[in-house]
Amino acid sequence: MTSALGSAPTGRDDRRTRTTPTRAHRFRWARAAGTGWLYVLPALVMYAVFVLRPLVLTLQYSLYDWNGIGVARWVGLDNYLTVFTDSDLLKIIGNAIVLIVFFSFIPVALGLLVASMVRRITTGAFGTVVRTILFLPQVIPLVAAGIAWSWLLSSNGLVNQALRAVGLGGVARAWLGDFDTALPAVGVIGAWVLLGLCTILLVTGMSKIDPALYEAARLDGAGPVREFLAVTLPSLRQEIGVCLTVTIIAALASFDIVYISTSGGPGLQTTVPGLEIYRLAFSQRQVGLASALAVVLMLLVLACVLPIQRLSRGEKP
């Protein structure tokens, strides 16, 4: 969002215009500002048409009972009331929150571990290979990842074959079709997809840390763990903030992986808001309720992400 507006002239220019007395000056500034607006106009128009307009329309639709075609009926906040009182919809929102653990916390924690291990081999050909392999899941389309994983996790898939091979046939099951394991199984797919992204971001962040800090820590007698806690972790605050932001959004707004691997089943065990919004709007034709759920989802994302932004924004030590 910021990138589209980022190049727009800020109010500071206007203030400066006011403090410069001559007319010629003022004219030049005004013209410069006008040219600036002209430059961003195409982006701004796209942004307005494809981001702002749908956003506003979603807000508007959420106040109506509408099937997408016929006449809409004004219902005020009824759709929101449904979102917050319907036990199925609450369960669906709960599923998304559970997914945060898998999509966000696990990749970031594992990413930190992996990044500190591969930090020393980031240069040279081997480093490139390691980075490529780690980043690969991010390049694969989510749909392909979903299909591949549903084969792996099927009752005769590789995961169960491996379990049977080591004598653990008793725990083998259709992981994505079982009520107890479906949501964690979907979570594992998400963790796999996002681990690479987190690791790469964290490795890049680590490469920017001043080696003198590590030297100083070592001189003070710090071991690897102490080094990690006292130097690495605080220096990576911003990168961790970005990782958490991106992955939490991926968890709350997940759709592709769930749609492909389980379609939200069994029961409502893996149904997430993104999937439910799509179903409500396009298969059940309740555009109003779908929009209300979408607005709630947006607020939920903001509620999770803004505090992280605030925390990670603090000055670098």
Partner: protein, 451 residues
């Protein structure tokens, strides 16, 4: 990157807010949607001549079912002035797109239809009554077109809004090799006999039923097959057609649900049924990994190819010996869009599909389904010793016994996705009781009807 995400100066927030406000006022003045009711003139004159002017018919058909394309090609061969422009999508995609596509300016002439009531309510479908009269479709058996009639918020009576490109029948496919292995010499005559075979298969180490239950509840096939037998099938039909007062909470539905639960507990379905999708089910059945599969005649041609001579078909047996067979049977519904540019040519095509000898043959050989049409026209025959011949025979038998009912999944637009599928998944995993199942399905039904 971190800075990009974190820096969001207040001034820009103000700018964004004002842009939002402008957008708000620009769009929020009027309620969304438009009143499209009564834009059709039902008494408009219709032409039953195709003429010689070049015509391009836009058709919106279902991917994976080559019948529509085969019929269109043959039609163009016979009528050189008519060309087809065919767009294909998966059925679920058509279900989701149909209303918007039909409301657009590029509405297709002929479209594969999901449930019709909503489309009629929104005035997106052409009323075919004038064509019914003009072409004399009253010579078709009335039951054939019953499911395609929509009245005041109900289906089954009222005006005609669609025709079938083939009329499908469902039942049970069986693997002949596995059947003889467990000592099944002929199709079961009663539900009890069918259950005996299931038990025999289980003890004999053969997977009794290969049925999908992921994405959409395939176990609703056996469920409705049982429900049709355990009570009066007109009760089921009334519920599907949304007749006032009809309910799913009946002793028949409950008994059917209890039976499904019993079968699930006995291991008659695969353990991974909730993770098995339609394509997976057909694949496993073809590999010989299941004795029975509940499915429809649209798979006949495919099964004849993949397991020639090794697959049989029977209509689901009756509860008592000699009872009336009942089966889910539905037209592969195609309708004419209210905004169609060539409605007369579209109706001509639909009539031709039912009456032209070559078209009827294509319906059987390519579509695997009965071509429907006037009862005095002969039904083309399929190659002997094929399962296609068996499903075709079953279709005729069902017609003679007047035992066709629609699918419960078609009762309302959302009933399958919102209630039947998740609740059935819960039921077979032991997370839902039979009583809870019928109540949950009925509750969703009422919720949708009250909207």
């Amino acid at each position: 990157m971190a800075e990009l995400l974190t820096k969001f100066p207040r001034r820009r927030t103000v700018l964004l807010a004002s842009l939002l406000a402008v957008g708000m006022t620009a769009t929020a003045c009027s309620a969304p949607g438009e009143d499209r009711s009564s834009t059709q003139k039902p008494d408009a004159a219709v032409k039953t001549e195709l003429g010689t002017d070049p015509i391009t018919l836009d058709m919106y058909a279902e991917t994976g079912f080559p019948l529509a394309k085969a019929l269109a090609d043959e039609f163009s061969k016979q009528h050189s002035n008519v060309k087809f422009n065919i767009r294909e999508d998966q059925f679920t995609v058509i279900v989701e797109n149909a209303p918007r596509v039909m409301a657009s300016d590029n509405s297709p002439d002929i479209i594969r239809l999901p449930t019709m009531v909503d489309l009629v309510k929104d005035d997106l479908l052409k009323n075919l009554d004038p064509y019914f009269t003009a072409y004399g479709w009253d010579k078709f058996p009335a039951s054939q077109l019953m499911q395609l009639r929509v009245g005041e918020n109900t289906r089954g009576t009222g005006s005609l809004y669609g025709m079938g490109l083939g009329y499908s029948v469902t039942g049970v496919f069986y693997n002949k090799k596995l059947a003889s292995q467990i000592g099944m010499t002929q199709p079961p005559a009663t539900v009890a006999e069918f259950e005996e075979l299931l038990a025999k298969a289980k003890t004999g180490g053969v997977q009794p039923i290969m049925q999908f239950n992921k994405n959409t509840a395939g176990i609703n096939f056996p469920h409705q097959a049982l429900q049709n037998q355990f009570g009066d099938p007109t009760q089921v039909a009334d519920w599907i057609f949304q007749k006032p007062g009809a309910t799913f909470d009946t002793p028949a539905a409950l008994k059917a649900t209890q039976t499904i639960q019993k079968w699930a507990q006995a291991g008659y379905f695969t353990k991974d049924a909730n993770a098995l999708d339609y394509a997976g089910m057909v694949g496993e059945f073809q590999k010989g990994n299941g004795l029975f599969m509940f499915n429809g005649d649209w798979e006949s041609a495919n099964l004849d190819k993949s397991m020639p001579g090794n697959v049989g078909f029977f209509l689901f047996p009756t509860e008592s010996p000699g009872g009336k067979h009942v089966a889910m049977s539905a037209p592969n519904t195609f309708g004419v869009s209210a905004k169609a540019k060539n409605p007369d040519a579209a109706a001509y095509f639909l009539n031709w599909v039912h009456t032209n000898a070559k078209a009827r043959e294509i319906s059987v050989t390519v579509g695997g389904s009965s071509p429907g049409g006037p009862s005095d026209l002969p039904v083309p025959s399929a190659a002997p010793n094929t399962v296609l011949a068996e499903t075709l025979k079953a279709s005729q038998q069902l017609g003679a016994e007047n035992g066709a009912v629609d699918f419960t999944a078609n009762a309302t637009g959302g009933i399958f996705a919102a209630a039947i599928t998740p609740e059935m998944q819960k039921l077979i995993a032991g997370q839902q009781t039979p009583e809870g199942y019928v109540k949950a399905v009925q509750a969703e039904y009422q919720k949708e009807l009250s909207r």
